[in-house]
Each structure stands twice: as structure tokens, then as C-alpha cells.
Symmetry: C2
Subunit: 587 residues, 2 copies
């Protein structure tokens, strides 16, 4: 096949679009692959559609290789199933809702767990029907607060979403692994670097969950990884807690007047005045942070988190730790209503032996960072204005209502699997595999009869790949200052032939070259524009990013053309016949 | 390729779905091709998706054959372009509207004229860029008042919509013809009978417009056709008006007391008492019907239509004739406000020589059916209670404000092209080609520079095919009491192989047959279900509708299998090798 550039619906732009923050957005618009329609909503031009189809087909092939079957759901779905799962409410402002002419509620589905569950319930009833993996490639909608970076975070985007159905946990493990393996094959075929990180399962609940992150500076996620192979997103990172140590013989805690020390810095300074030989740092202090939680019914409550003074609370980790509550810092009103919380001097202990928060009308939960293990010794607030307590021993002088993972992760923290210290990196989520477990099947009543004729609830997995985002990530990873450089298997065309010159022989040779390449099974883009200069044609070729370019120029008269590798920039002169052989053998 | 029925996500149903009114809906649900999600909204199962893809690919091939290029727009679009074209309001309740979290208005696009226009405006600026034909295959949304008949009229459905761009009228004619020809090829390849009818261009405005109707009893449209080749939808039918005849020497009109004759029937009876020798029929009376029009700004006005008494007003034709007004019968309030309109006795004339409607506060327009031509003589109302006028002559005693085509079309009416009397038939619209002209380009400012460097407004065409509706129409046209019978080129599989029996040899032969057919390029559905009886398997095969079935049964031990033509019911015994040759040669 071949397409003439003179006929192709494309127009390259010299200038970057004003709203483009990242290279992929800039280049995909400039090269005529996509066009913005509304914030986070794009139209696909012929070049963009070609690349997208190739990505989709690679995904299809790898999913069908293990038996997943394609179906297609509407984007417009009724409220009821999402009401049954609780997600109609949980999604908050993040989805598009609408009503039909009769006032019935609908949504534009952001994911389809509910209706896949109902479909399987509708068709299947026996363990013999399982395992089952279904998928669709479909346009999804999310009303993002801040759509950004072109296709990287849109409000309409294309996803491949799969769902697996099993009746045993072992079955789910296998289905999960099949998807995970397929994802590895897909990203490998796409030439996309990826890291599989342990993930928080977010809204979905469920057991095992991993994200495929593509490391990139434009990524939205921070993840941690160790040289020894550990990887997790920050929300899923777990702290290595020190072993408990005996506290027999440790001196009793002592309260000191420490006026004007409302911060960790001032406290450390004062502490080093009190005991000039200890060399205290922030890590020796126990910081107590008050958080306000709002549960799904809208009830607000407070919790105090104790953590080493050299760490802050990571609010994303806190959201996960306290899920399904929403989390924010306590405000002035919270403090006013709880006079027992003495701002700047909060501790798990007081000179009067009062339990934290006892002075307030409601008992406030007190939870600890894992580092505050039994036998560790701390300087912390005394719950009295201007006073701190020194030598307070965890497990002896105070206890907690639980351990939580909310502290910031920092470079050098130890990976929980013993693989050494971690570093922090930026990544873009390109895939996600979840073990949903029985949540949706319970909510929607999906049960099958097992071998013993007993009704058992089905266990599910959910697996997503962002098709349009992958296109952006590929563009982000494959470009230079001149334009895009597509990997061979997703390039919009196999070869870009340029007729460079005005002589008739140039066009004659180019035409026969194009015909020869077509016969060799190549899909050719032919820049046949008669009145465009070679320089402009070269620039357009560099911008469009077909990886293999052939220039038919002055030497055409001698049957010689030039093979130009867009990625390396290398150019080589070849006879037409040799070129067809060389390029054709790639098919 | 092959697919094992034991693994395929499908479940056939014995019973018809309760909401299914038509065969296609009933069978597509029972055979496991689609499943209802909400009124007029369906999910596609693997079998349905396969058929749909084949239809889409036939459409793609025929459009690309003349150079149309595929793009893809979002379904979610901002209000502004539709506001500029006036369609945001015009669509009324017929579309889904929604707001994003910032309160900005969006719609789920029912068609995409506006944004295609803007896209071309964005990219192109010269006559050299034209002609251009772009298309997309995309999910569309319409908030139908009465979604019905499964896929025949859904609220979410898939359409191929194309748009052509030219800068001369001749260019538009050519683009229109290219689409029209492609549509003929598409429907021919799909084996779908079609009639091309002249159409009203509805909301769109514009010049030439034709519909492709598939004649079917479940069709929603009535169309007329003559044996001589004329075809039009009822809205587009034009009446053959009698020539004007001289009225010199005709007697003067005379008013008669005709109490208690408020209807045409009673009037005809009384008229035949007044003149016992004339043999009057309803066709001799002039009926005057009062209609209320509401313009796009919401202003209501009345119009009186005069037409032969043997015809009623066809409200669909009236909608077109009075477009863009909405039309309904005048109500009691309208009559009360206009005492000059004497119900049952309305005429274009009164004994006092009063002009129709003169007694009312506003002048009311009076329009005529084309049959009321100059010199025709009528019995009609005298605008006085209980009085009619006889011998009233059109052109002598009354005139009109215009001619309108609103009368019912009936069997035997003459086709306007002289091809004889028409019959009426039911059809389903499967395609539509429109000359939009410059309406959208004007509204949205799409101009290009012509050969003389002058800015000219682009002229456009719009062309639609209902992909999912075509699937339903195909199912409607290809079934029997046992199930579906797909045409070869859209069947979900090429061959359906049934292992009929429990003997090991049956499965051995079936497996080798499937492998052989795969090698011969066939896409095989293999009913390998071990515990299902041959009878059930045969019934499922008939229901699923793959046109070529192979039964591997008792004779398998002798290497003999049975080829079963689903359409004719013929069965033939063949050796495995002969069967592979026979069936494989179809590829």
C-alpha cells in the first residue's frame, strides 16, 4: 500500500501549540497526528489513527494469545449498577453524569467493572464456565480537574480494560499472572521501558495490585526502587520497622520547660541546650501531626499520627492508609474544639498521665509510624503549652491505637524485601493489574455453582492499559529536537519516500521505487508534492517520524537513492534494487 | 484461525427476550450477539463484534477506494460549535447534554458536521487542498423518545459518517456521486436490497438529498415508488399539479344552507341532495385544515391549508413543508382566539366577500395543495355557521398565499417524473447522502482561496451509514424460524464444525478437519463441547447462523463428514479431503 502526502489529510505546523507542556503533546499536534477539541479532548487525524490502531492490535494479539475475548460495552451506562457497587457516589466529581429526557441518571463510564460483572452473571452459572477473561478497547471518560499534557491525561481517552472471572483464589492468581505476562510482552514489543511496582488498589479494594510505570520525567507518579530489584509506588511502600528492644534500666522520662519551641527545629535546638552532649537531631524527636478524616458518609473525625521529627506526612500515603476516608490537615476549628490538643506541644503523654485527647469531648485515635517501635526513646510534646518531655519510651510510657504508613519516603530508606536502599523516580502509569477479589461479585450477586453444587461468589481481576496514553508515552520516549521517531511496529508507515528535486527522472524513479516497496509488502508514505522544496520535505519527514526514509534526489538518474535512518541519522547510498531488497526484508 | 465453542463467551437462549418486537432483536439476543444494557443501549459479545467489524471493514474499503480518509472525533464535544450552527437548540430533546465540573456545556454528538468543518478550517486554506472527503466510524448518541426494535433504533449506535469539502458546486456534485456510488457498492457487497429515494434534507438544509432505504416490513419509513423507477420518501414526494384551465363561462358560485354538515362525509351527502345529478365525491370538496406553527423562537401562528376533501394532511410532510417550524393541529384555544375561523365551515371565501381570517385579530396565511389549480371548481365552507358555497372557482373566486406539499400520498398517485402511478412501501433507512451546501461553512467560517486568490466559502456534503443498524437489517433479512443465516462475507466465522457424537474418532477427525480448514485460510468455529448432544449442537448452529456447517458424526470412522448449507438446508456427504478442498476454495 502507499499513500501520497499530497493527498493525505495532514498539515505540519512550525510553531508549538500554546497549551503544550510536554514534547509528546507538542510534536503530535505539530506533526498532524491529533487536534484539540476541548480541554483534554482530542480528534484523531489519519496519522494518529494509524499509530493508535497498531498499538491496539499489539494489545489484542497478546491478550488473545492466552484466551481473552473481546467484547464492547457502551460508554453511556445507567446509574443502577454503579449505585449497587457504591461507585456512583465514590467517584465524586471525577465522572461525567447526565440524565436522559425522562430524567433517568446515566454516566459516561470511567471503568466497567459493574457491567462486566452483570454480563457474566447474565450468561454464566457454573464453575465449568470459568476461568474467563474478557476485554474491550473503548473510549473512556473522566472529568479530570486538570486535564494536562495532551494525551497523557485526557478527559476522553481510549483504554483496554480486561476483567477476569474465577471461582477460586488460585484461579484468580493464574488469571492475574496471565494478564501480567501479557502486559510484559506488550510493553516489550512496543519497546517501552517499564517498572512493575506494587500499588495501592485505590477505589477498588482487593488484594494484589501492581502498576506498570514507564520511567519518565513527565510522569505523574513517584515510585521507589532499589538496586536489588524492589519497586513500589510511594503509596504502596512499606517501612522496615526496627525490632523491639528491651527498655529495662532506661531512665524515667523527664519534663522540661521549653518555651517558644513550637517547631521541630526550635525543639532540637533547645534539646541540645538541655543535654549538650547528646547531639540530638530531628530524628530523635517524635512529631505528632493532627489529621482530619472524612468518611464516605461525611462524618469528620480527628486522628493524631506520631512519627520521627525528620519526616513529614505524605498525604497520598495518608489517603491510602486511612481509605476510604478523605484526609486533610486539621484546621483551626478542629483545634478549638479539642483544647487537649496543644498546638506545637502535642505528645502521646502528659505529666498528669493524661491519655492523648482526653481533655477533648471525644477520644482521639493515636497511631504511630512503624519506626516508633517498642523501646525507642523520644523527645516529644508534653501536651502542655511550653513543655516537652525527654526520654519518653515507646511501649513503656505510651502505646498507640495502631501502626500506619503515612510518613514520607526518602532516598536511602530501606526496601522492605531487604534489597537495600531505595531511590525515588518519576513514572507514568501505562498499565495496571488488580486483584479485585469478590467485591463486585458480592455487590452485584455474581455466584456460580462449584463442583459440589454449592453457590460460590466469583473472584475477579481488573486490568487496564491506556491506549492513547501509550501513544503519548511512545512519542515522549521517541523524539529529538526535530520531531518524532516511531518504533518500527507502531510507525504510521513502514517507509517514507521523498521525491527531492524537480527533474522528471526523480519522480519516475520515485514512482517505481514506491511500486517496488509496495510489492515487497511495505506500507509507503510518498512525499510527491511537486512544488515543495527538498528542505521542507526533509523537515516534514523528520517531524512525522517514520523511522525509515528514502530520498530520491539527483543520483536518481544513475539509479541511486539514499536510505536515511531517522533514529541514527545515518544515510547510505544504494541502488533502487538493493534498497527494495534491504527495506523489503524488514516486513 | 479457529475458536472452540466450549471456550467462546456465548450462551444461547431458548426464549425470546420479553422486550423484543422484531426478529433481528430476538435472534441477536437469543444467539448471544448482543445484550441490552439500558433502553436502546447494548453491549456487544464476541460474536456480535465479529460481524460488526466485517461490516465496518467493507465500508472502509469502499470509502478508501475513492480516497476518503479516516479520522476519529470524540463523542463528547463542547457546545460552542453547535451553538454557532444553531443545532444546539434545534435538536431539542433529541440529544444528550451534560456539563463538566466547571459547568461548561457539552453534548454527546449525534452527528459531527460542525467539528469536521472546524477541523478542515484549522488545517486547510487553499482550493488546492480540495476536494477532500473525511470519514469516521464512531459511536453516536441520540436521546430517542422511543428506542425500539433492538439495534434498529438505539440511543447509542455506531455510524460511519463522512463529510466532503469542495469549493465549487460541480465539485460537490462529484463528491456526492462518489459517496453515492460507494454506498451502492457497500450495500451490494452486503447483499442488502436497497432503494434510493429522494429525501427531505431535514434539519440540515441544503440541496440534493437521497436516502438508501432497505424495503422491509419492520421499516420506519414509508416511501413511494413507481414501476417506472421513481422512488422518494413520502416527505420528498411532489404532486403532479393539473394544468390551469380557463374559467370563462363557469357559473357564479352560490351559497347554500347546509346545516349540520361539519364533516366532508356529511357535506358530500348534502351536496348530492342539492344537485342530485352530479354524483359528487369527497374529491369535489375543498377541505380547509387549520395548522398551528411554532417557529424556532417559540412564536405560534396559524395557517390554513386548502386541499381536496378526499385527502388528509400528512403531518410528516407538513413538518418539511413548514420547516423550520414545528407543526400541530390547531387547538380549541386557537379557534377561540380567531372567531373568523368557523369550525366545519371554513372556506377561502365568504358571502360578504371577506378574506379568510379577516375577522381574526391577525391575518392568517392561506395555502393550497397543488391540485387546487387555476380553474378548478369546488364545494367548500362559506365561513358562516351552517353554510357552504358551491361552484367556487380557484383563481377566480379565491387565491392563496402559496402552494404546499402536505397532503397524504396515496397508492395510484402519479410519480412526478411521468413514470406512472406509485405504490407505497415500508423501508428502513440504511444510508443517507446529503448536499449540505454552504450552510455549515458559512456558520463556522470555512473559506479557502480560489484560483484567483479570492476567498470563497466551501461547499459540503454529509453522508451517513448506520453500522449497527445494518447489522440488524441484515439479521432481519437473513433468518428463518430456526435462527440467523448470515451472508458469507459478514458471518462471524467462515465454517461451523460440529463434533456430533461421543466416540473418540469423531473428535480426532473433527480436530484434523479443523486444522485442515485453518490451513486453507478458513476461520473456524468448532463446537467441541464434550457433553452436549448432537441435537442441541445442531440447534445452536442453526441459531448462530454461520452459513457453512460441517457435521462430523458416525461416518467419521470412514473419513466421511457432512456439509450442511444453512441457507438451503441441503446436506451432502464428502470425504474430509474433498470437504477441505470445497470449503477452502471459498476463501
Amino acid at each position: 500500500m502507499s499513500t501520497r502526502l499530497s493527498q493525505l489529510f495532514v498539515r505540519t505546523l512550525r510553531d508549538d501549540p500554546v497549551d503544550a507542556e510536554v514534547a509528546s503533546h507538542r510534536l503530535l499536534v505539530r506533526a498532524g497526528y491529533i487536534r484539540r477539541q476541548a480541554p483534554g479532548v482530542f480528534a484523531w487525524l489519519p496519522l494518529g489513527l494509524r499509530v493508535r490502531r497498531k498499538i491496539e492490535n499489539i494489545i489484542r494479539e497478546e491478550l488473545e494469545a492466552f484466551g481473552a475475548q473481546e467484547v464492547h460495552f457502551p460508554a453511556l451506562l445507567p446509574r443502577e449498577p454503579y449505585e449497587q457497587s457504591g461507585r456512583w457516589t465514590k467517584y465524586g466529581d471525577g465522572i461525567f453524569r447526565l440524565q436522559d429526557r425522562k430524567g433517568a441518571d446515566y454516566l459516561l463510564a470511567p471503568t466497567h467493572e459493574e457491567v462486566f460483572t452483570l454480563l457474566v452473571k447474565d450468561l454464566y452459572s457454573s464453575y465449568k464456565d470459568l476461568p474467563l477473561s474478557l476485554y474491550q478497547i473503548q473510549d473512556k471518560y473522566r472529568d479530570e480537574a486538570r486535564p494536562r499534557a495532551g494525551l497523557l491525561r485526557g478527559r476522553e481517552f481510549t483504554m483496554k480494560d480486561s476483567y477476569s472471572f474465577d471461582y477460586t483464589d488460585a484461579g484468580l492468581d493464574l488469571s492475574y499472572q496471565q494478564h501480567r505476562d501479557a502486559y510484559e510482552r506488550i510493553f516489550t514489543r512496543l519497546g517501552l521501558e517499564y517498572v512493575i511496582v506494587k500499588a495501592d488498589s485505590g477505589l477498588m479494594g482487593g488484594a494484589r495490585s501492581e502498576e506498570f510505570l514507564h520511567p519518565t520525567l513527565v510522569g505523574e507518579d513517584t515510585f521507589v526502587r532499589s538496586a536489588g530489584g524492589y519497586a513500589a509506588n510511594v503509596e504502596a511502600f512499606t517501612t522496615v520497622a526496627p525490632d523491639a528492644v528491651p527498655f529495662d534500666g532506661l531512665p524515667a522520662a523527664e519534663v522540661h520547660d521549653t518555651p517558644d519551641t513550637p517547631t521541630i527545629d526550635t525543639l532540637v535546638a533547645v534539646a541540645n541546650e538541655v543535654h549538650t552532649d547528646r547531639g540530638y537531631t530531628a530524628a530523635d524527636t517524635l512529631k505528632n501531626v493532627v489529621l482530619a478524616l472524612t468518611d464516605p458518609e461525611g462524618n469528620r473525625s480527628l486522628v493524631v499520627v506520631g512519627l520521627p521529627g525528620d519526616r513529614g506526612v505524605d498525604m497520598k500515603r495518608a489517603e491510602v492508609a486511612f481509605s476510604p476516608n478523605e484526609v486533610e490537615a486539621a484546621n483551626e476549628g478542629d483545634f478549638a474544639r479539642n483544647p487537649g490538643l496543644v498546638k506545637g506541644y502535642i505528645g502521646p503523654w502528659s505529666a498528669a498521665g493524661a491519655v492523648l485527647g482526653e481533655a477533648s469531648s471525644t477520644k482521639i485515635r493515636y497511631v504511630l509510624d512503624p519506626r516508633v517501635s517498642e523501646g525507642t526513646v523520644w523527645i516529644t510534646g508534653a501536651n502542655e503549652q511550653g513543655k516537652h518531655v525527654f526520654g519518653l519510651v515507646a511501649g513503656r510510657d505510651f502505646v498507640s491505637d495502631g501502626i500506619v504508613e503515612v510518613a514520607e519516603v526518602t532516598v536511602g530508606d530501606l526496601a522492605p524485601d531487604g534489597s537495600g536502599p531505595v531511590e525515588l523516580a518519576r513514572g507514568m502509569e501505562i498499565g495496571h493489574v488488580f486483584q479485585l477479589g469478590r467485591f463486585f461479585a458480592e455487590a452485584l450477586g455474581l455466584k456460580v455453582l462449584d463442583e459440589n453444587g454449592k453457590l460460590v461468589t466469583v473472584t475477579m481481576g481488573s486490568y487496564g492499559i491506556g491506549v492513547t496514553r501509550i501513544m503519548a508515552v511512545l512519542a515522549e520516549a521517541n523524539n529529538d529536537e526535530k520531531g518524532l521517531i516511531w518504533p518500527d511496529n507502531v510507525a504510521p508507515f513502514d517507509v517514507h519516500v521523498i521525491a527531492a528535486g524537480k527533474d522528471e527522472v526523480v519522480y519516475e524513479v520515485a514512482e517505481s521505487l514506491v511500486a517496488g516497496l509496495e510489492n515487497a509488502g511495505q506500507d509507503v508514505l510518498f512525499d510527491d508534492r511537486p512544488k515543495v522544496s527538498p528542505g521542507v520535505k526533509f523537515g516534514d519527514a523528520e517531524l512525522l517520524g517514520v523511522p525509515t526514509i528514502v530520498i530520491v534526489g539527483r543520483s536518481a538518474v544513475d539509479g541511486i537513492v539514499e536510505l536515511w535512518d531517522r533514529r541514527t541519522g545515518e544515510r547510505e547510498q544504494l541502488s533502487v534494487a538493493d534498497l527494495i531488497t534491504r527495506v523489503g526484508s524488514k516486513a
